[in-house]
Subunit: 220 residues, 2 copies
DNA sequence: TTGCTTGATTCAAGCGCTTGCTTTAGTCTG
DNA sequence: CAGACTAAAGCAAGCGCTTGAATCAAGCAA
């Protein structure tokens, strides 16, 4: 901590450690842990190879450090935590938020790819049983839906509903290459994505409404 | 062809080439193309390292050969191509089929993981623009749904409906680690998976019915 | 049967290269 | 000068791939 700060003051404020972290996010996201080379990370960060050892110890610890900066990077759509938001508006806000990932390739998308990769192909370095980047999104949807379903306890049906809501968008992201081949016009441009979001909202409403109906029927 | 056959006859019918292919599926699925080592593949296939060069030329060609055996491995649920199958029965057959992937780890599951990995993290070796393993599943659902929706042409709404139907199951597979952490009891055992299939069918019916209603409304 | 040839296959060895990491000698700043 | 940091070189290990010799069954002539 204090060493790092004095370091920042020492050199031109560039903070080699910080550049190293940023480059690591990029390279790990592009190549995966195993295929990422420390030499390339250092080259992109414009530091010497010894810097990784100096600041982090080794490659695995650098990887862990990359995954230790996650929460502040995940910014959830605020509308869903406003209790006055209608069901449709909340769902639309949520899908607009997550579908923006599909097209753009900004700074944050790299870290998202990193989390997805760790999910599909665990490196074995991080402790297992971590829910990854899905947890905050899942938790927010659970919070948002409970009042709209008129329930105050989480059960497996609610969990499954939320996973389905996530799934109808996630398939478009994970399989975006296949989607573009099989159904051109779904996620090719901002315009088509806007249409697709409309479809997602309609699907989501159908799912939530069906679940609400099922619960009312089960009560009577 | 004839050389390969005489080879099979020559040795104990073990066919080193075949063992090599099988081992390659396993190792590529476990490690990914870049992290898989030809030495390990040969070790598992119980052949000499030179065998890859002898039979396939190099590592990349072995990888391509693995991806050239796909179609016969994808066995679709037959019920969906029977026009007498009801909507609910067809959907149930489909989800029972695909959800069997989530728990089991049989021979075929490795090749499925391989396709998923290639989708998320393309190796750059296969020609791009291939829809991967999703294509046959997608096509079958499109065929199955058209009569139940009363349409005879494929449009973008139908495509998106199918992707949503795929997505609500795929999220449980791709994020199965997170699902087990966030919602234990969804995909932990055959019993819970059976319950989850019930939920998937209910969700799918809600989606299809909503889409049919939308089309009827749009007509009038 | 016997010995020889041939072509297919396997084998151990090693080439050149990249990897993660370490070391040693330095430079710069306060 | 002391401590924070960097630079360059090099280590052992692993990588894909190649090589030339060894092995083996099949075909063939004497």
């Amino acid at each position: 901590m204090s060493e790092a700060r004095s370091n920042e003051l020492a050199n031109g404020g560039a903070a080699a450690r910080e550049r190293l972290l940023r480059a690591a996010v990029d390279v790990f996201a592009e190549k995966g842990y195993g295929q990422a080379s420390t030499r390339e990370i250092c080259r992109r960060a414009d530091v010497n190879v010894a810097a990784i050892h100096y600041y982090f110890g080794d490659k695995a610890s650098l990887y862990k450090a990359v995954f230790d900066i996650p929460e502040r990077l995940v910014q959830l759509p605020a509308a869903l935590d406003d209790s006055s938001t209608s069901l449709e508006d909340g769902l639309r806000a949520w899908y607009e938020h997550v579908m923006s990932f599909t097209l753009t390739a900004d700074d944050r998308s790299h870290i998202r790819l990193l989390f997805l990769r760790e999910q599909v192909q665990p490196s074995g370095i991080l402790e297992p049983n971590r829910a990854g980047i899905l947890r905050p999104y899942h938790a927010q949807l659970v919070r948002f839906l409970m009042p709209h379903l008129g329930i105050d306890a989480v059960d497996r049906e609610l969990h499954q509903l939320v996973f389905s809501l996530v799934g109808i968008a996630m398939v478009l992201y994970v399989e975006r290459a296949a989607v573009r081949v099989l159904a051109p016009g779904l996620i090719d441009s901002e315009t088509t994505i806007a249409q697709t979001v409309d479809g997602l909202v309609a699907h989501a409403l159908a799912l939530v409404n069906a679940e609400r109906d099922r619960r009312q029927q089960a009560q009577s």
